[in-house]
């Protein structure tokens, strides 16, 4: 049971450190008089004061924290003069401290300064609720209602689940954790967790109960007909009622094989889109409908609506939850009839090796910092990572399961930039790694260059005052479409003096802008950035050069 629950909803989020200790640091070194910071924490939506919010400074030992009073006021005392990152963290919906919505600000505290008015305006997540009914207008209990975002991930626009609610006996659902200002779709689907190896659905499709088509609010079978929902901070949006679309139900007869035999395999089937995966600053993974195949590996999966599916099979390691030694998946399309003889094989991990090479001549002295790379499967929790000397060869220990991965460079040695990444001779710098698709040379090749230039920006308001904590976006002019733009853009945030300097970037022409709007990789934000190139300041970054620009923040339209 436990394992099922764990597999069912595994929500990964970037957790903030728990605040510990008290506001006073008894071990603070003696010196200049300590200073203090005080202010108010409010809800960014309503402006209401927020009691019981935790306020803490991130970089002190022991960590200093306090809790706001009923008026939302807080005060942190005994702080020595230096730069701090201060976080205000609202209580989470389920009552656990340290897990609620938060805001972090920077401050430079002078010796003995009692800083007042250091306020926080926390953007609260909203909630969407409604009712799911069927063609008879009957409320449908036990339906899975998903919150879905469309976001660019590894060079493609993908629809990704971000939360799940289940309808109650009245067909009602409540979806929490709806980020304010983001565009969401709401989709309802029959919730199936466990499938028999061989479905007992009737042989004659006319004698089968109709399937439920994943239905987007209000009643669309496709994402294109979905109504996008954008909530304000803390908004409770009600009446998002969905009428389920039904369709004829079809079956898939297949064979699952590989791994250490059918008894240890789990087959699964899921719609290609929307799917599990990462979005924003977190990820959402719920287990797909599946089960254990028969002793001969045969499966019969029914209740399928017409559409595109991934038919997968995996074997779980007995000793560790969630890690699979074998996996395989095939795309399947259901049109207007049953499918026969679909085969999918669980294949072992395959080695992934490659090299990091210089673009142009190598430097005289070897680098002492390594390049660190993370690979994350697009729709699954499978991941891998490696470090490589520059130049040097690398291999992922234990290999990777055959799947599609996104690449992230978690550490790039100072002074370098990634000029290209190729797999099987094709560039995947702005795309994904489809493991096992390389013909011939299956090595991953990472090209690093030393000729990068830097961009520096100074952001002021119209009166010339520095604007701290403002987002800067650099858009390469070479990006020929929105997907590439999403993969290639560079972002930064100004410091307390309103300035920011980039890491080395590939020489070339860029558009640069400053904005106080949220920057993410959603379809809407990227479309706004695509349009914002017109009228944005241009910046030519030359090889080993540095280009500077002064910007005034603007809104994205």
């Amino acid at each position: 049971m436990t394992q099922k629950l764990l597999q069912f909803v595994l929500v990964l989020s970037f957790l903030l450190p728990m605040a510990m200790g008290q506001a006073q640091d008894p071990n603070a070194p003696k010196g200049p008089a300590p200073g203090s910071i005080r202010g108010t924490v409010t809800d960014a939506g309503s402006g209401a004061p927020m009691p019981e919010a935790e306020v803490y400074v991130n970089n002190t030992t022991p960590q200093m924290s306090t809790v706001t009073d009923t008026q939302g006021h807080y005060q942190l005392r005994g702080l020595e003069a230096r730069r701090y990152r201060v976080t205000a963290n609202a209580p989470s919906a389920n009552g656990r401290n340290g897990f609620g919505p938060s805001q972090t600000r920077q401050v430079e505290l002078l010796p003995g300064q009692d800083l007042d008015g250091f306020d926080f305006h926390i953007v609260l997540p909203g909630q969407i609720s409604g009712r799911v009914v069927d063609q008879n207008k009957e409320p449908v209990p036990g339906i899975a209602v998903y919150l879905v975002v469309r976001e660019y991930v590894a060079g493609a626009l993908r629809a990704v689940f971000t939360n799940l609610a289940i309808t109650d006996d009245q067909g009602e659902y409540h979806l929490g954790r709806v980020a304010a200002g983001r565009s969401y779709m709401v989709m309802a689907q029959r919730l199936t967790r466990r499938l028999d190896a061989v479905s007992d659905a009737p042989a004659d499709p006319r004698l089968r109960r109709p399937a439920v088509v994943p239905t987007f609010y209000p009643n669309s079978r496709s994402m294109d007909g979905a109504e996008m929902l954008v909530l304000r901070s803390g908004e409770q949006r009600e009446g998002i009622d969905i009428r389920l679309v039904r369709s004829p139900a079809y079956c898939l007869d297949g064979i699952v094989e590989g791994g250490s035999g059918p008894a240890n395999l789990r087959f699964e089937i899921g719609d290609t889109q929307p799917a599990n995966g990462t979005s924003g600053n977190g990820g959402f993974y719920s287990s797909l409908p599946g089960g254990t195949p028969g002793p001969d590996g045969k499966v019969r999966i029914c209740d399928l609506h017409p559409g595109d599916y991934a038919f997968g099979v995996q074997e779980f390691a007995k000793e560790s939850l969630g890690s699979a030694p074998y996996y395989g998946s095939v795309p399947v399309t259901i049109a207007d009839r049953d499918l026969q003889n679909v085969r999918v094989s669980a294949r072992p991990r395959v080695p992934l090796a490659g090299e990091v090479v210089w673009d142009g001549p190598a430097p005289d002295t070897p680098l002492d910092t390594k390049l660190a790379v993370e690979l994350q499967a697009i729709t699954r929790t499978e991941r891998g990572n490696f470090e490589s000397a520059v130049p040097g060869q690398f291999a992922i220990e234990g290999g990777l399961l055959i799947d599609e991965f996104g690449l992230r460079f978690s550490r790039v040695p100072a002074g370098l930039y990634i000029k290209d990444v190729t797999y099987g001779g094709h560039s995947i710098l702005y795309g994904s790694l489809k493991l096992g698709t390389a013909v011939g040379d299956a090595a991953l090749r990472i090209v690093v260059a030393r000729d990068g230039g830097t961009a520096s920006a100074r952001v002021t308001d119209k009166d010339g005052n520095a604007v701290p904590e403002c987002a800067i976006v650099l858009l390469p002019a070479s990006a020929s479409n929105e997907a590439t733009l999403a993969a290639a853009l560079t972002t930064g945030r100004t410091d307390l003096r309103g300035t920011w300097t980039s890491a080395p970037l590939a020489p070339g022409k860029y558009y640069v802008l400053a904005t106080n709007d949220a920057i993410d990789k959603s379809q809407e934000t990227i479309a706004k950035l695509w349009r914002a190139r017109t009228g944005a300041q241009e910046l030519e970054i030359t090889a080993n050069g540095s280009a500077a620009v002064t910007l005034v923040p603007r809104g994205l339209e």
């Binding site: 989470s92 389920n94 109650d168 659905a201 109709p210």
Partner: protein, 518 residues
């Protein structure tokens, strides 16, 4: 426990009208307590002996279903709808004008507020079925849809999908098992602490009876008094391993009052604990969480008694011990048993009667011949449950295994006994196929009123098997009356019979005369 309960719960039905063409199935599904037609009910039609469904139908907006072109034969029909108890029935030849009744599950809803009338964030609410005599309340071990929920931002909750039976309601808040089990940690809430509250109070929980479609309201006002700290250390804790501790109230151990995790040095702290008499349990190392903490291999356990009252409790020391290994054996409850009455082996489930916040339930196989061992048992109180006993065998007494104190280490014998059965014949009618026979347990001390329905063959013969010995009520009902009276409620028109263990109870049941009001 939950699964067994469901499979036993009310199977209701039904009238059969007319003898129409064998290849057409037509019928109507109604809600048992209102007689309203039910739309969107799944009707699964099985030909007996064939695994694949002959038809998988759905009722329309008027509650009707139909299938044509089905082969003649013996059929089993199941009617399912979420939030209703599944009905199943058997019949020879397909009928038209069939009526199926579905019993709607119960609902308990309400609000959980603090003394200021503010909602209590993250509070969890449980519906807990009335246990057999002599055992304590325990939450469902499988969290069924609706039997467990969290309050919304207004402090409201709604427990649904409760099959017929009797239920108490409890709320847990603060550093609860639900919070630890879903997030890996938790904290007491300012001014409120952590705790468990049954409705209306822990000493005498109220039971809400569900026979079909009831909606109850239970509002909680959580007003804690005198909140204290409990601090201490778990002995033998290795650095880097974490243990989970649970404080359970001795009065109601089904839900932990508060949960804490050890620090690297083995120390722990509970905040906001009310006065009371507690068991403090420890288990670990923790390898993950999913509903409850998941123990790694070779877990250690600790258990001490702890009183909290009038002040903080400091310096508590919890010694740890390895899990116990216990042997189990099946034995016949009443001397010799005919061979084949009970299977040679059965499945054994040991379900903890206390909430340790971690997974301490265990299972295994048990047999008559050789002792089978179950390892890694916590020093807890367990309920012993057997399954896979077949139709002719049952577990007469709900057995408890108490490992909380000294235990002699002897093998535990679990009693099983032959089940009863009825071989009956419907008399006084020339068309027994127009009748259905319902059997209701007459001595059910709480729990579901399990109803079984049989359809006599053309000679009027019918049978019930796998019956727990005791008193039952049995009634024959003309098909056309199916919509007029509920099986469960109608005591006046049934007769009482006593079912003995072992040999079948022979019975001749007179067919009722036509209803003069019809």
């Amino acid at each position: 426990m939950r699964l067994g309960f469901l499979s036993l719960s009310v199977v209701l039905l039904a009238g059969l009208a007319g003898n129409a063409a064998a290849d057409t199935l037509r019928g109507l599904v109604v809600e048992d307590h209102t007689n309203n037609p039910l739309a969107s009910v799944e009707v699964r039609v099985y030909q007996v002996g064939v695994r694949q469904l002959a038809a998988d139908l759905e009722t329309d907006s008027t509650g009707r279903f139909a299938a044509e072109g089905l082969p003649a034969g013996e059929y089993r029909i199941e009617a399912l709808k979420p939030n209703y108890v599944t009905s199943s029935l058997r019949m020879t030849g397909l009928k038209e004008g069939m009526l199926i009744r579905l019993v709607r599950c119960g609902v308990i809803a309400g609000q959980v507020l603090d003394a200021r009338g503010q909602p209590i964030r993250g509070a969890s609410v449980y519906a807990i079925g009335k246990p057999a005599e002599g055992t304590v309340l325990r939450p469902f071990d499988i969290l069924g849809q609706g039997s467990y929920t969290r309050v919304n931002e207004r402090g409201q909750y709604r427990l649904h999908g409760l099959p017929p039976g009797e239920y108490s309601v409890a709320v847990s808040y603060g550093a609860s098992t639900a919070t630890f089990g879903s997030m890996g940690g938790g904290s007491a809430q300012a001014g409120l602490g952590s705790g468990v509250q049954f409705y209306p109070d822990n000493a005498r929980p109220q039971f809400f009876a569900v026979t079909g479609g009831e909606e109850y309201r239970a509002d909680f006002a959580v007003i804690p008094s005198g909140l204290y700290k409990v601090t201490g250390k778990v002995d033998q804790a290795n650095a880097k391993t974490r243990y989970w501790l649970a404080l359970t109230n001795e009065e109601q151990p089904a839900l932990a009052t508060a949960v804490a995790e050890t620090q690297i040095d083995g120390s722990f702290e509970f905040e906001g604990v009310a006065s009371g008499s507690y068991q403090l349990t420890a288990s670990g190392p923790i390898g993950g969480y999913g509903g409850k903490g998941i123990l790694r291999d070779a877990p250690l356990f600790g258990r001490i008694r702890l009183g909290v009252g009038g002040g903080n409790v400091e310096g508590v020391s919890v010694p740890l011990q390895k899990g116990r290994t216990i042997s189990f054996l099946l034995r016949a409850a009443m001397g010799d048993m005919r061979p084949g009455t009970c299977p040679a082996t059965a499945h054994l489930a040991l379900a903890a009667l206390e909430d340790w916040a971690t997974q301490i339930d265990r299972s295994g196989e048990v047999s008559f011949q050789t002792e089978q061992t179950v390892e890694r048992l916590a020093p807890a109180r367990y309920q012993i449950q057997l399954s896979g006993l077949g139709e002719s065998c049952y577990q007469p007494a709900s057995a408890t295994l108490d490992l909380s104190g000294a235990f002699d280490g002897k093998p535990v014998a679990i009693a099983v006994a032959p089940a009863g059965s009825i071989h009956g014949r419907l008399t006084g009618t020339t068309s027994p196929g127009d009748f259905a026979v319902a059997l209701v347990p007459g001595d059910a001390a709480g729990g579901a009123q399990a109803v079984q329905v049989a359809f006599p063959d053309h000679d009027g013969r019918f049978a019930f098997g796998g019956l727990r010995p005791g008193t039952y009520r049995i009634a024959a009902r003309r098909a056309g009356e199916g919509s007029k009276a509920r099986w469960v409620a109608d005591r006046s028109r049934s007769i009482e019979i006593r079912i003995a263990a072992g040999a079948p109870t022979e019975l001749e049941l007179p067919a009722p005369p036509p209803d003069p009001n019809q």
